[in-house]
Amino acid sequence: MGIEGIGTRALRKEDKRFITGKGRYVDDIRLHGMTYAAFVRSPYAHAKVTAIDTAPALEMPGVVAVLTGKELVDDKIGNLICGWMIHSRDGSPMKMGAWPAMAPEIVRFVGQAVAVVIAETRNQARDAAEAVVVTYEELPAVVDMREAVASGAPQLHPEAPGNVIFDWTLGDEVATDAAFKAAANVVSLDITNNRLAPNAIEPRAAIAEYDPAEEHFTLYTTSQNPHVARLVLSAFYNIAQEHKLRVIAPDVGGGFGSKIFIYPEEMVALWASKKTGRPVKWTADRTEAFLTDAHGRDHLSKAEMAFDKDNRITGLRVKTYANLGAYMSLFSSSVPTYLYATLLSGQYNIPAIFAEVISVYTNTAPVDAYRGAGRPEASYLVERLMETAARQLKVDPTELRRKNFITQFPHQTPVIMASDIGDFNASLDAAMKAIDYAGFPARKAKAESEGKLRGIGVSCYIEACGIAPSKAVGSLGAGVGLWESAEVRVNPVGTIEVLTGSHSHGQGHETSFAQVVAGRLGISIDQVQIVHGDTDKVQFGMGTYGSRSAAVGLSAIVKAMEKVEAKAKKIVAHQLEASENDIVIEEGQFKVAGTDKAIAFPMVALAAYTAHNLPDGMEPGLKESAFYDPSNFTFPAGSYICEVEVDAGTGKTTFINFVAADDFGRLINPMIVEGQVHGGLAQGIGQALLEHAVYDENGQLLTASFMDYAMPRAEDLPSFKIQHTMTECPGNPLGVKGCGEAGAIGASAAVINAITDAIGNNDLAMPASPDRVWHAIHG
C-alpha cells in the first residue's frame, strides 16, 4: 500500500461515520435528566419590554422553569461583546451598545430573546413558550442603513448617537484625491453587496450541564472554535471560570462563519443548567436560525477608479456603509475594516487608495463574518469596477487586468497588505484556456442568431487568509492572538494522536492533517488520529475560520512533528551508535544514511516509552507540542470566468460554463481542495443569483424559511471546471495558502459581469433574479 502523503487524493477517513448515520452532532446527544429550552422571542424589531407574565407558562405540563432577561442581568451574566476594537477617524473608540443575552428592557431586532422556558420535552417547552405573556411597547424601527444615519432616525443605542458605530478610514486621502484630479479617465459605480443568511444545514444547538459538586460546566455546542468560546464565556460573560468549563464541539454540520461567534443561547443554556440543576438542550429551528444567526455582507458602496491615458490604474476611492445590525457581534467590526479595505488593491498595482467605512446600527439581526468575511465584498467591488472600466475604456477586460496586475513580489499595497507571492497571469491564462475565451465571440454570435443573449464575465480575486501575525493584528485592535497550537502524541506502539486547535466542520481535517503526519514518517494515515474540538483534550486553539487550518493549524502540527522527529532521531542515533545528523526517515524506517542500519518507527516509539536505552538525561516518552504564529497572511488568488446565457423573455440565467483557476500554493489533498472550491462557488453564485435576506420596513424578516430564502439547489448550479496553478507560499513550512473561501470571494463578480455583458446593461444588483434581469433588459 502506498503512503497517502501530501498531494494525494486520499479518501476521507471521517466519511464512514457520516455515510452510515453515525455522525454525532450536538442534537444527537442526550444526557441523563436532560431538559429542553425554548426561547420567547420578540415579534417586534424595536420595542420596550414593559411586563413579562410567566405564570401561565409555569402551569403548563412539564415546565421546569421560566427565566427572564431581568433575572439573567440580576445574576450578573455579562453583555455580549465585540472583540476587535476599531477607532474612528477622529481617534474615538467604536461605540458599542449593551447586548444582554436576553433583553430585560429593550428589544432591537425581531427574534431577540426576552425569556426562556425549560421543560421536560421539546414540545412542552415550545408549548409553554407560547404561553409566556410579554407586553411590549413598540418603538419606531429603522432597517435601511441610509435611513439609520439620517437625522431624525430612530436611535438604537444611547452609546452610538446617530446610529454610527465608527467612521473609519484607511489609506492616503490626499494622494488619492490628487490621483483623481490628474486622471485621464474615472470610472465610478454604486455597489450593493446584499445581506445573506449563512444557513449551515445543521442549525445551531447547545447542551449545557452543570455539576454542582465540582462547580463545573460542560457545554456541547455547534462551534467552529470551542476554545475561543470557553475564553469569551469565562473572561467576559461571567458564566464560569475557564478551568471550570469544558467546551466540546463534536461533529458540526457546516459553519461558514456563522458558528465562530458566541451566541446568547449558549450563555443562557449554561446559566439555566445551573439555575435548574438539570442539563439543558437547545436546538434552533430553521426560522430561529434565520432570525438569530449572524448574517453576512450588507454593504452599500460608492466606488471610483482613476486611470491614466494608458489605462493604468492611478487611484481607488471607496466609501462604504456597513450595516452591522442591532448589536455588534463578536468579530463584526473587523469585517468591513481590516478584512475588507485592506483587500481593495485586488490583484492590481494601485498607487493610491483611500477607503472610508461607516458602520451603522439598524433594527436587524447582527451581521458578522460569513464565508470570506470582507474579502468577498472587496473582491466584488474591485472586479465589478474593472469590468465596468474595460467597457467604458473599450478594452478587453482580461487585457485591462493584465496591464495592471502586480507582477513583482513581495508587493506592498497602500492599504497595509504586503502580498508575498503570486502569478496572476498564470491563473488568468489557465481560466481563459479552459473556457476557450478566444472562441467566445463566435459562440456569442451563434447564440444571438438563435435569439439568446450570451455573456462572459471575469473575476480575478485575491484574498488574505491565515490571518496573522498575532503582534500585527493586536496592533490593529484584535482581542485575541491568531496563532495555532498542536500536540503530537506518539503512542508506544507507534500509532499517533495529533491534537489540534483547528476545528473541522466539513473541511476534512481528519484526513488531510493525517496525510501530512503520515507522509513525513512514511506510515499509513490509518495510524494517525486527529483529535480536535474538545477543550479538555486540546490545551488551546483558535479554531477554524478565514481559511487558516492548513496555513496556521497544519504549520503548528509540522512544528510539533519536527520536535518529535528530532527526539526520535536522537534515540535512534544512540541505539545505532551513529550521529543524529546522519539519521534519515524513509518509508517508516529511521535509517543511518548510506547504510542498511535502521529501526522501524514503531520500535523507535516503543524505545521512547520502555526507556531502557535512551541517551543520558533524555526524558522518556515521545510527545511534543508547539504553538505556531505565522509571519504573514497567505494570499490565495485566482481567476474565475463564467459564460452565461440569458433568456430575454423570462430573464432567467443559465450557465454555459464556469471555470475556476486558483493558486492555493501546495495542495495537501486536491480532492478536498476542489470540494472546498465547489462549495465556495455555490455560495458566491448563490449570492449573485438567488440569496437575499430581506427585511420589510418594520424590521420583519420576510425570508425566514427555506420557502422564502432562495438557497441554491442542484438544479440552479452547473458542474464546475477547476484548474490549479501554483506558487508556493514562502511564509509557512508547507507552502500552503488556504482554499476554503476562494469560491465565495471570486464567484459573484464573475456571474454579474457575465450577465451584464449578456444584457448590455451594467445596472444590475445582486441577486440577479429573473425579475431583476428582465427589468434590466426591458426597462
Binding site: T20, D27, A200, G253, G254, G506, G679, R713
Partner: protein, 161 residues
C-alpha cells in the same frame, strides 16, 4: 397517545407516542436513530429523508400515525452488515459530502431516484430530482458525480441478479 407499530430497518417496533409526533422525532428521540437529521421546519431541506415502503419521504412531514404498519428504512439500515450500500460507497469515493449533515437524506433520496430511473438517469434529470434536498457544502458538483456513479453500480448489480 397512540400505540404505533411499524418495522424499522427490518425490526418490529412499537411505541406509545403523542398523536402529534412526527416520524423524524420517533426515529431520533424514541429509537435513537440519529442518522436522520432535521435541518428545517418546512420540509424543504430533505435532511430527514427516509424510505417508507421503499419510497423516499421527508420524515418531518409524516405523523407517526400515518406511518403505522409501514416499513421504514433509515440511513442506518441500508448497508449490508459491513458492506456499504453502493450509494454510500459512491458518496465516499467521489467526495460527495463535507460536513455530512445533509448526507443521510441525500443518500436516501438518491437511492430512490436511481431506483425510479435506472440506467435512464442523466445529470439533468438528477439535478431536477435533487430539488428537495439542500446541501450547503459541496455545491452539488460531487453529489451529482456520486449519484451517477452509484447509478452505474446499482444498475450493474441489478442486471447481474
Amino acid at each position: 397517545m397512540s400505540t404505533i407499530r411499524l418495522t424499522v430497518n427490518g425490526k418490529p417496533v412499537s411505541a406509545d407516542v403523542e398523536d402529534r409526533t412526527l416520524l423524524v422525532h420517533l426515529l431520533r428521540d424514541h429509537l435513537g436513530l440519529t442518522g436522520t437529521h432535521i435541518g428545517c421546519d418546512t420540509s424543504q431541506c430533505g435532511a430527514c429523508t427516509v424510505h417508507i415502503d421503499g419510497c423516499a419521504v421527508k420524515s418531518c412531514t409524516v405523523l407517526v400515525g400515518q406511518a403505522n404498519g409501514s416499513n421504514i428504512t433509515t440511513i442506518e439500515g441500508i448497508a449490508n452488515g459491513d458492506e456499504l450500500h453502493p450509494m454510500q460507497a459512491a458518496f465516499r469515493d467521489n467526495h460527495g459530502l463535507q460536513c455530512g449533515f445533509c448526507t443521510p437524506g441525500m443518500i436516501m433520496a438518491s437511492i430512490d431516484i436511481v431506483h425510479r430511473h435506472g440506467s435512464a438517469l442523466t445529470e439533468d434529470i438528477l439535478r431536477q430530482e435533487l430539488e428537495g434536498n439542500i446541501c450547503r457544502c459541496t455545491g452539488y458538483h460531487n453529489i451529482v458525480k456520486s449519484v451517477l456513479n452509484a447509478a452505474g453500480r446499482m444498475t450493474a448489480a441489478q442486471a447481474a441478479e
